[in-house]
């Protein structure tokens, strides 16, 4: 296997691992917050439905965490196994957040074990809720630290390169790089948003399948409210991300927007196709790109003409970007209409059609997460460390990457099937109605 092949298969394997891991990682970051909100509401309102919600979500969460943990271990090792040259260089500058991530993960793992096995152990339920806080913090901070590493790959700083030697290394400066604030905020808020919409889609699905229990209605309304809040936050952060890109990674923004020539008052291109370097069938929104990039309709936006051919990312990232943004906007609308509709008692938000829209919202949000990461990673090409190291220089020279790709693909298939089977069985076997009835019986037994 030549080195070109090693590079190719290393990229495919990394992409596969990340694409699979991010599903479970997103859920792993977002769900603890949802559980926390539900349990807190339950204690505050003395409403056992919310408590049960927290309890049932926790059970599902454990399954996804398990897959998240093991695939996270896989990507952690693959960084060194597939990109040894990159890790040798990056390890010198950005090892600190990677190291801190293991602590956050440690913290989360310990308290998850405790939280899981101490339901009903405390007289005061608030004590049990307290145990969840470190889980949520640990989960979110894992995401923060890992995203910092990714931000560093996009906007490396905190060192100088003199004669190919790293000098003046400042690990803290490397962490607080320009890409970090928007990237971290975006990853967190989309994880919360996606998790809320996934839980919402489960609730809507149960209602569609004939369950008329108030539990599902409460779950649906709660998750749609949370989803709405975080989708608005995501939109605001997205605006800042645009400004970050314009300033620090103009080639990524220009490629995503098919903005070929540098000029003032740049329009935003939505959708369309590229035919021989010409954009066709696109929706053109005048001045919008200048506003996105610089908050000024007449501002100059740097185009792809400013960059040598070999430094430009593939132009198909336009579709990834548009897909992500479209889904984000769509979900904001779906949740906004639902929440307002419930308040104002609009009848159409209670129809089967609308519930189906919500059901599809969960998987759609996850697709948006995937599109977003593909956009982030492909949009950084040809660099692994922007401006410093090219992807092909970073890959392993080992000739067995193709075989490993097959092995890992098999692994992810097994994990996907296993987790889906287990999760569906878990909730099918033990429905909300049944569990509530069981608990009532238990209580009666205690009273007698």
């Amino acid at each position: 296997m030549g080195n070109e092949e090693s590079v190719f298969f290393s990229r495919v394997l990394t992409e596969l691992t990340l694409s699979f891991h991010i599903i479970y990682a997103t859920i792993g970051v977002g769900i603890p917050l949802m559980i926390m909100i539900a349990q807190w509401l339950g204690i505050k309102k003395q409403d056992e439905h919310y408590i049960l919600m927290a309890r049932r979500w926790t059970r599902g969460f454990v399954i996804t965490v398990a897959v998240g943990v093991v695939t996270g271990t896989a990507i952690g090792l693959q960084l060194s196994l597939l990109w040894p040259n990159f890790m040798e260089l990056a390890g010198n500058v950005i090892a600190l957040p990677l190291f801190m991530e293991t602590f956050a993960f440690f913290f989360e793992a310990i308290f998850l074990g405790i939280y899981l096995y101490t339901w009903d152990r405390f007289e005061n339920q608030k004590k049990h809720l307290l145990l969840l806080i470190p889980v949520a913090i640990g989960a979110s901070f894992s995401a923060v630290f890992i995203t910092i590493v990714n931000a560093f790959m996009n906007a490396p700083q905190g060192f100088d390169l003199v004669n190919e030697q790293l000098v003046n290394i400042n690990p803290v400066l490397a962490m607080f790089n320009p890409a970090m604030p928007t990237k971290v905020a975006h990853v967190l808020s989309t994880a919360y948003m996606t998790s809320a919409f996934i839980l919402g889609s489960i609730g809507a699905y149960r209602i569609l399948k004939g369950s008329n229990h108030i539990y599902h209605k409460k779950a649906l309304f709660l998750t749609m409210k949370i989803g709405l809040i975080f989708s608005i936050a995501t939109a605001v952060i997205g605006d800042f991300s645009g400004k970050y890109l314009a300033e620090y990674q103009p080639e990524k923004l220009a490629a995503a927007e098919w903005h070929f020539e540098t000029h003032e008052g740049a329009p935003l291109m939505l959708y369309g196709v590229l035919d021989d370097g010409e954009v066709k069938y696109a929706i053109k929104i005048p001045y919008a790109l200048s506003i996105l990039a610089h908050s000024n309709p007449n501002a100059e936006v740097i185009g792809l003409d400013q960059f040598p051919e070999e430094d430009i990312p593939p132009l198909y990232i336009h579709y990834l970007f548009d897909g992500m943004v479209t889904i984000g906007m769509w979900m904001t609308l779906v949740s906004l209409v639902y929440v307002v509709g419930v308040w104002l008692k609009w009848s159409f938000v209670k129809t089967r059609l609308y519930h189906w829209l919500i059901v599809f919202g969960g998987p759609l949000s996850m697709i948006a997460i995937e599109l977003g990461w593909w956009f982030a990673e492909v949009g950084r090409q040809p660099w692994i460390l922007r401006g410093i190291m090219r992807t092909e220089e970073a890959a392993t020279t080992s000739g067995q990457v193709d075989t490993m790709l097959l092995l890992f693909a098999g692994l992810y298939l097994i994990l996907a099937i296993g987790s889906i089977v287990v999760l569906t069985r878990m909730y099918r076997k033990n429905t909300v109605e049944q569990e509530l009835a069981d608990r009532d019986l238990e209580k009666e037994g205690e009273l007698r």
Partner: protein
Amino acid sequence: MTLELIGVSVLWFFLFGYVIVASIDFGAGFFNAYSLFRGKQHILTRIIQRYLSPVWEVTNVFLVFFFVGIVGFFPKTAYYYGTILLVPASIGVILLAIRGAYYAFTTYGGLTHRRYTYLYGLSGLFIPASLSIVLTISEGGFVNEKQTGIELDYWALFTSPLTWSIVVLSLAAVLYISAVFLTWYANKAQDEPATELLRKYALIWSVPAIVSATGIIVELKDHNPEHYSRLFDLWWMFALSFILFAGTVYLIGKRKAYGVAFGLLTGQFLIAFFAYGISHYPYLLYPYLTIYDSFTNEAMAIALIIAFIAGLGLLLPSLYLLLKLFLFNKDYVQGKRNDHA
């Protein structure tokens, strides 16, 4: 103490932690599967499940901590070990992944088939075998530096008696450590039949553990004379380790103080592990890589050490809470409480 030494000691200590907690976990899985095979599952399963359920995820973190930490403190290891370990480490991580995920699927998700119990038990033996290969490779003689990069010589690796002795040691040690710990745990749970059975396992596996450990030292004499002579300089540490080993076996044999026995066992492995580590100094990979030429810059090293101390301040109380609520909680250990979500 230099920064290099602090870094490598911290990592070595965490690796030791992984060896102990993972051994307990791997061995427990194997004993569980074996007892199912022999139709004695009713004796062991409950006790093993009760110990493993709240802690399984924590085990994995020790390993992640080690490999993230070693790339942090010694970035050059990413290049050397990253390149040569592609296949063995990938296989190890795939086995770990299947094992960890299916543990959760069966414990929390209600998948209950004999197949999974066997899968879980056997993977627990393959994982230490595949991970222990890294120690063999670190002894040198299996890595060639070529124009295109570095390569692992699989043929030499798999035909070397050293490789197989280390594999045997890892398996014997896993089963021995696990049996001693679980004897103590079963005894705390006042589970008489389980204690007796596990005690028998502990005594059986003590023999191959000590024999294979001695065998490796002898084989190193041929394979890596430099390391062997440094090992020999530390004979007193190995002697001390052996005394602790004898103490464990004595207490288990006499059915006395299982807790102390496990304490002695931890001491035995700690001393032997560090004696091995110290004699390996300064090499991370004979003869290419030492802790000095692979070390990170000073700024990063100090930042990592500060992060480590801060992290430890957070972790130690949490670990204590975990142990207090489950390992040292009588009601929980004896199965009077479950409180699972």
